[in-house]
């Protein structure tokens, strides 16, 4: 794996506040890497540092081999960026927005014509060419923003919470688009606080209180020892009335966490208490399962908070 994005011991402080604390990771070429974390955990700050807009207080990083401390202006020409707010000019048409971003990336003449045609085709926004960006629906705005972000054929694209406030169909369409591009070798770095979105990423980091607390594929994260404390079992209790049973389960001996998942209860329980629980709940199916991604992050978050106290 050739590392396209590489961060080592990245630390960024604003005065007394540490926004990013000793974060290290690598992202390979053509990978779709997700960074999951609650609001204010430092996701956007990491993107800004990687794009060279912020000088890290400590640590180093490279994008496509370029040093984020020294080569900021070079980096900008090779990366694309799409923010939550999309960065579109609502009073300009779709074509004008694309033409503007082509201009600021210095794409001219026949190359510009060709690139515009390519991104229009790829995003399927061609029928709306002359519509003002402000009159597009959320999903189309997002595609236009992506078209603008990739107009200069970047090798790396940063997407900062790209799907906030977008309907599920448009979200799925965007992800299909990302994977199509990633198969052509474009690397994506996506931040999100949606679990289902994180699950789509090939690799995933979880950032909590400015620290990267877990990194790996979904399967790797599910196997993490911190997510499966020794001597515990992850169980799924299927019941017609999960909400009335939840308090009962929580009160049982050895139950560390319990939460409702649709028609069932997910719980983390001391392994030796599994059989007593089974016998105390006659007529209810209790199965040992793999932790879901949410289970992993909840357990991790709880472990960190307990350690702090």
């Amino acid at each position: 794996m050739t590392a396209v994005i590489q961060a080592s011991h990245l630390t960024i402080r604003f005065g007394d506040f540490t926004a990013v604390n000793d974060v290290s990771f690598e992202v390979g070429k053509g990978e779709v890497f997700g960074l999951l974390g609650p609001n204010g955990s430092g996701k956007t700050t990491i993107i800004k540092a990687l794009c060279g807009l912020l000088t890290p207080s400590e640590g180093t990083g490279t994008i496509l081999g370029m040093d984020i401390r020294k080569d900021a202006s070079q980096i900008k020409r090779h990366v694309g960026y799409m923010s939550q707010q999309f960065g579109l000019y609502e009073d300009l048409t779709v074509a004008e927005n694309i033409a503007f971003y082509a201009g600021v990336y210095g794409i001219k003449g026949p190359q510009a014509v060709q690139r515009k045609a390519e991104v229009l085709k790829l995003t399927g926004i061609e029928p709306y060419m002359d519509r003002r960006a402000g009159r597009l629906s959320g999903g189309w705005k997002q595609r236009l923003a992506l078209a603008c972000a990739i107009i200069h054929s970047p090798e790396v694209v940063f997407l900062d919470e790209p799907t906030s406030g977008i309907d599920p169909v448009a979200r799925r369409a965007l992800w299909d688009l990302l994977f199509r591009l990633s198969s052509q070798g474009v690397t994506f770095f996506v931040t999100t606080h949606y679990m289902d979105e994180a699950e789509r990423c090939e690799r995933l980091g979880y950032i909590y209180l400015s620290k990267l607390v877990a990194i790996g594929t979904v399967a790797e994260l599910q196997q993490m020892p911190q997510a499966n404390p020794p001597g515990t079992a992850r169980i799924q209790i299927d019941t017609a009335t999960p909400s009335s049973l939840l308090d009962t389960v929580r009160a049982k001996r050895g139950v560390r966490e319990a939460t409702i998942f649709g028609r069932s209860i997910h719980a983390l329980i001391d392994a030796d208490q599994l059989e007593p629980l089974r016998t105390s709940l006659p007529g209810v199916s209790v199965q040992v399962v793999e932790p879901s991604l949410e289970d992993v992050f909840v357990t991790l978050t709880n472990t960190i908070q307990e350690a702090k106290q």
Binding site: S83, Q85, G87, E90, D91, Y105
Partner: protein, 371 residues
């Protein structure tokens, strides 16, 4: 050089589209200053005429009526009402019905005829110093003339002053006032337009997007300055036309020199607008900061009060206000027919101020985006 202004042309083109797409901005930019020019141009007349005056004539003689006629003939006083007592006269002034009270005592005619000094009381409401000054000097002047006519009837005066007013012979207020007003109107419009344009991008998140592109801070700023500067320039031409044709203010100097020397001023106010936009988080804040630049420019630039009459401290302050230099250029060319040879230093100072403001804004911008 090229990379210092990277992105200038696309930003410039995009900004032109914004202007064309937003008729509200165009309206605001072009029409509002014009309306203000008409309002202030017609409303302001610093020449004092027809001061409402109350008269308490105890004498009621031919002599007293002759004096009152002379005062009325000066066009400065308008004899509005007659009071029947001293108290009534004071009351009229206190109530604001009259600004001047003239009391001619009962022994006025008798003293005149006896050859002793006949006194007349002129009460002046001093709350408006211009009006008060004019009332005092005119009444003194009329009294002096009348006295001389009595002392030397038909005789020649030993000294005669013949004032000759240069450049604005009719001492019309508009000639003095409108050229200065141009500076204020252009300044307000230009600062607001460019500051709002940049802060709008900050509010909508497009500025954040731009910082992720190779656009250089100076490319972004100068790219915005060009279209808004051009808009202000068009407005300047329109204002000059209205000044010449509607207010009948003649332009004694070369209008092309005036237009050329306006460019440094536009550079400066655009730069100030950019500095404001780096300080303001919201459009409302930008608006307030822009409005904050108006009062110093009105009161300390020589627009209303002569700089030479200010306390030394404020004379120094006025040197830091761009409008001071531009008003000097405007009045110099329009009223006195001066040219580049006399006024170049003003344009040079404005150019320096403008470049400093733009560089300061660019530096602030770089510093801010990294937070």
């Amino acid at each position: 050089m090229n990379s210092l202004f990277y992105g200038l042309m696309p930003v410039c083109r995009k900004e032109v589209l914004h202007i064309v797409r937003d008729p509200g901005t165009l309206f605001f930019a072009l029409l509002i200053p014009m309306i203000q020019l008409f309002l202030f141009g017609f409303a302001v007349d610093t020449n004092v005429r027809q001061i409402p005056t109350v008269v308490f004539d105890e004498s009621q003689t031919q002599e007293s009526r002759q004096l009152l006629d002379r005062l009325a003939a000066s066009d400065v006083f308008k004899l509005r009402s007659n009071a029947t007592s001293k108290e009534e006269m004071y009351e009229a002034i206190r109530a604001g019905n009259a600004r001047v009270g003239i009391r001619i005592p009962y022994d006025f005619a008798r003293n005149l005829q006896a050859g002793t000094t006949a006194s007349v009381l002129v009460l002046v409401d001093g709350s408006d110093s211009t009006v008060a000054g004019q009332a005092v000097s005119t009444s003194t002047g009329v009294a002096l003339q009348q006295s001389l006519a009595r002392v030397a009837p038909g005789g020649r005066l030993p000294i005669e002053v013949r004032p000759s007013v240069l450049y604005n012979p009719a001492t019309r207020s508009a000639n003095f006032f409108v050229p200065g007003l141009i500076a204020i109107l252009l300044q307000v419009m230009t600062i607001l337009l460019i500051a709002l344009s940049l802060v709008r991008e900050r509010e909508r998140g497009t500025l954040e997007q731009l910082t992720m592109t190779p656009v250089a801070p100076l490319g972004l700023m100068v790219g915005k300055m060009i279209p808004y500067g051009a808009l202000a320039f068009v407005e300047l031409c329109a204002i000059l036309a209205v000044m010449r044709l509607v207010f009948q203010v003649p332009i004694h100097g070369n209008v092309f020199v005036l237009l050329a020397m306006s460019i440094p001023f536009l550079l400066t106010v655009l730069g100030i607008g950019l500095v404001i936009s780096t300080k303001a988080r919201t459009q409302a804040e930008a608006f307030q900061l822009s409005m904050g630049t108006i009062l110093p420019s009105v009161f300390l630039s020589g627009f209303i009060f002569m700089i030479d009459n200010m306390p030394p401290f404020f004379q120094v302050v006025s040197r830091f206000i761009p409008a001071t230099y531009y008003i000097e250029i405007l009045r110099g060319i329009i009223l006195r027919g001066a040219g580049a040879r006399e006024l170049w230093i003003n344009a040079a100072v404005l150019t320096a101020m403008g470049c400093a403001a733009v560089l300061l804004a660019a530096r602030q911008f770089v510093r801010q985006r990294s937070t």
